[in-house]
Symmetry: D2
Subunit: 353 residues, 4 copies
Amino acid sequence: MPQPAHSFSASPTAVSHIGVLHGAGYVGGALIRLLAAHPAAALHTVTSRTFADQPVGAAHPSLRGQVDHTFTAPDEIAFGSLDALLVAAEHGRSMQVVPGILEDGFDGPIIDLSADFRFRDPAVYPEWFDTAHPAPGLLADAVYGLPEWSDEIGGASLVATPGCYATGITLTLAPLAQQDVPFTAHVTALTGASGSGATPSSATHFPDRDGNVRPYKVLGHQHRPEIRQTLGTHVSLDFVPASGPWTRGIWGTAQIEWPKATDPNTVSSWYEEAYAGAPCVRCSSDRLPSLQPAVGTPFCDLGWKTDGSTLVVGFALDNLLKGAASQAVQNLNRMLGLPETAGLLTSPVSVST
Amino acid sequence: MPQPAHSFSASPTAVSHIGVLHGAGYVGGALIRLLAAHPAAALHTVTSRTFADQPVGAAHPSLRGQVDHTFTAPDEIAFGSLDALLVAAEHGRSMQVVPGILEDGFDGPIIDLSADFRFRDPAVYPEWFDTAHPAPGLLADAVYGLPEWSDEIGGASLVATPGCYATGITLTLAPLAQQDVPFTAHVTALTGASGSGATPSSATHFPDRDGNVRPYKVLGHQHRPEIRQTLGTHVSLDFVPASGPWTRGIWGTAQIEWPKATDPNTVSSWYEEAYAGAPCVRCSSDRLPSLQPAVGTPFCDLGWKTDGSTLVVGFALDNLLKGAASQAVQNLNRMLGLPETAGLLTSPVSVST
Amino acid sequence: MPQPAHSFSASPTAVSHIGVLHGAGYVGGALIRLLAAHPAAALHTVTSRTFADQPVGAAHPSLRGQVDHTFTAPDEIAFGSLDALLVAAEHGRSMQVVPGILEDGFDGPIIDLSADFRFRDPAVYPEWFDTAHPAPGLLADAVYGLPEWSDEIGGASLVATPGCYATGITLTLAPLAQQDVPFTAHVTALTGASGSGATPSSATHFPDRDGNVRPYKVLGHQHRPEIRQTLGTHVSLDFVPASGPWTRGIWGTAQIEWPKATDPNTVSSWYEEAYAGAPCVRCSSDRLPSLQPAVGTPFCDLGWKTDGSTLVVGFALDNLLKGAASQAVQNLNRMLGLPETAGLLTSPVSVST
Amino acid sequence: MPQPAHSFSASPTAVSHIGVLHGAGYVGGALIRLLAAHPAAALHTVTSRTFADQPVGAAHPSLRGQVDHTFTAPDEIAFGSLDALLVAAEHGRSMQVVPGILEDGFDGPIIDLSADFRFRDPAVYPEWFDTAHPAPGLLADAVYGLPEWSDEIGGASLVATPGCYATGITLTLAPLAQQDVPFTAHVTALTGASGSGATPSSATHFPDRDGNVRPYKVLGHQHRPEIRQTLGTHVSLDFVPASGPWTRGIWGTAQIEWPKATDPNTVSSWYEEAYAGAPCVRCSSDRLPSLQPAVGTPFCDLGWKTDGSTLVVGFALDNLLKGAASQAVQNLNRMLGLPETAGLLTSPVSVST
């Protein structure tokens, strides 16, 4: 008799109390949803300056009737009540906030979702983000939280969740980078409008985005150094990001001239071994993934096809989930000693149908 | 200290085994998802002739890695292993299938999602569906499963889940129909393409649907008699359905010339009293709902505005959830003696952001 | 042998020189396109403060390679070189600008596209637009430019082009208003995002508009007094405007309880007589129009259906064309003594396919 | 004083009578529109088996009121009345039809839009299209009609209009191929749903296409041999086509590891020289094009960016225009001795705004 795929048969003996900082944006909303369905981690406090003292539904109308919390002003958060923190502040803001939280003595897990703790080398910040890092000492201890390629998350106190493009491209290229052969990956990837956040801008103006594809930061996206840090310098990346006319999800291809003829089975074995124990990566050989099946899920979908020395690998993920919130919860689960996918699978809703 | 809104603190002592008949379509997929996240009802068997012996992910790719079941051929289902049945067959097919299931002795709850058991009067079928009903005797016992307006669901053995438009329009007009004043409701409502099902057709051809609104069955939609059956003959309905350029959700307005000047507070009290105990209806006074916050949720959102004797009520719901699958699970929950919203709230994913 | 539908066999002996004021927005872009294809009226000067001295393609990238003009700063326009003016300024700006142009002695046709000269009664401005009109004397002379219902356009010096919703609703209801029977029209209409203009706002933020329908100004839209001015006080209007998830076009229904049973043929005769000589209205009996066929055209599509005393009339138009720019060119053509549809028909491109 | 960019000041002394075969599809509709606005070529006859004797508006509703023709049954076409033929039949059908037309003595220009006369080598047909060519003798005389790279169109009697992807990719790579250096181009390109034609299919089912990107024929698209025929064997092509969630337009990138460091100015000079006299190619240096500005136009937009030896070139075009109908009219114009862009520029409508 078949069993439900992911039953949580044990009633959790303890539920951790989680704080979400800057919870009024899209990533914040995604975190609130995930925690609401999580069996062992519950939203305790969620902050927003703009929506302070208003119900969560004021910023996230679809959550009305589902989540009872009201937003707390950032200054009024009681860190002592919290077991862990998820920080969904924008780039440049987390690096201002997190040092103070630590100085105030908070010693639970902190998972940051911005770029502010992703780089071991402080010199990246002035070069790529136009700012010096105010707490470079924290960078050495912070762990880059790509769960499929890090063993250090469980023991870390501060984890930096990777960027959305960086997640997809790194998961795509890492099994190849492991082969210790220099290669160049030509990546074209398109992202949905939710990647630009909840504040209107010309990049997300409906008449300009509907039916449009718009390349931007061609060969100059700030996720490039992040990917290089993980993959190593023997991988050259030629990356064209573009915006696509949809709300959620990143879809991309990596086209590679492999140094020698690629045997399809060999390539498959590289990927299958790399992700054998990875519950949030779904692999397919001899076909590239579509975007839609990955959207609304915590998965990064990967697939590949070869022809002689030509190798194409495709990837698809939800920028707000595997590219942000669900990956942060993967990290949270590891830091709390929970199963990696706790609260992440079998959502009652798909994004399309 | 705030508590998570919907914690299921008790580990359910028993999980009911559910069969989903015809589970390869969009409604079937929605049912599988809901059951996968349900604390006390688990998918046991799901049938599909087309996908027999294939994994659920073959029909529903986003469920790959989340649900382990394979489809069973309809002829091979073992009803003895099942505690309840959800029948997602198309109109005209359920009326062929359900009588045989009952004759074979299945005595658990059956929730049908087609139109085949919605009407007490067998004469509706030849008039509106071009077919005589093969089992008119079942119609007397079948309960029309609009949970907000029926007390008989809990004790029923066969429940007919309402149509998607009928759900929205009936929930919109029932608090007014209760006032026992004859009135005419002018309803215009637009539905997403998932309402047409998973089989391609000219109605869902992307170039013809993108950027388009297309009215159809104007003043002649088959949900009209269904609504009239619930509301009574003192409500006249002038209904224009149309297809809109999106995948999920129905949005509509009911415009009414009320027989006398309407006091906004009075109207609000009608709705608030009608839905005080209804966990799947969200009301707003003095504003009409948008579509997006209802999509991906089990809610029907209602809102109203008045100006003299003019009364406008708006509604929004997800056609695959409150218009089909989540309403069926509301009914299932009642029939199994579970809390009405078990498995329905706080999904980890919103459809938009 | 069939002939091309709309050949301009005569080489026009004179081409009028047209100025477009505030030509960097969506309506301005639509005007530039129409003039570029016009056989007897040519764009001479187009102004924009933001894009002064830049090519037209800087604001309207698809026109690069098709239109050679550069934008002129508003202060540098040489009115003496112009035969007619099209003013595409926003509401509240035209009323500041037009009086000065007249004082400077410009005596050619002026067609304004804002609300600033639509109302004969100056009291409308403080009530609906929160501003007193600075040149109320001009209102008496300005002609409301709905070409199908005005004989005065040809002789006017200042014409106010109707609003987009007002165009659709007035064309829909005017043949009924002619019957001199009081009635109430319940109108629900949805508009595309280009109606909000080229400046990003929360109303046009892609993640919030994609897959969404959002009602706004329910029972309070500023086009109501405009419609009433044309139709008369025996027509009551109950109007729900909403934004839809597309870029161009308005689609709506008018649902009416007609005082007596409506004979379909009688209704058809009302419409067919009213629009017999109207080249920019396309009528269909016994069916409501879809949106897409009207988009990209200068037409307002109308269609109707009756059932007893219930009468439903649907309408569809392109908000930037029949709702703005092409209607302005209809007016321009009349004022210049040209055929009404000069430059408007048989465009080489449809918006969908 | 500026002049209108593209005035046709001379009244054409003669208008050619054009026949469009198989005019009920999307490409047929695009051809009808272009001819309706053409100053020197007029639609005379348009055929359709399905819509025979029905007005053009039955297949193309937006053309109602703009084009007066009715469809002629294919068997009833009077070739003697026609000066030129545009054949919009599907692949495999033209090769059956065209030989008979020639045998019947038609000696005017024929422009075919299918793949059936694109290849000089008959062996391509059994390999790539699963069919032997019934008239291989015609292939030697047929001219591949990419106007920017062919001098033979003017004198040809049978021209094969290139495929949509092939047009974009060839225009993108040809200036590089001219450098006589072997290189590999890694191309990822996405197309709109109109490229799949007017018949509904699973590839164009709205719920599956909305918000989705779906790769197909990865490394195996049938435009590959077409591109190779033009560019030569020293160019290797690694091509990933994908379907995108919009109706019109193709957007793509070509990523190239150039054999030596590329100087941006040198690359620019290659493109600018190649397309100096090409009115339907718009070039931009140091930026890649967006899709939307090309849609609704007869242009292929190109742009490039370099970084060391990395070279990225982007392209965008309307698959129904530069990828089919407007390119066919470019060819028609050359064959009739007209200006290449006659009837193609300054349309009164943009597709977006």
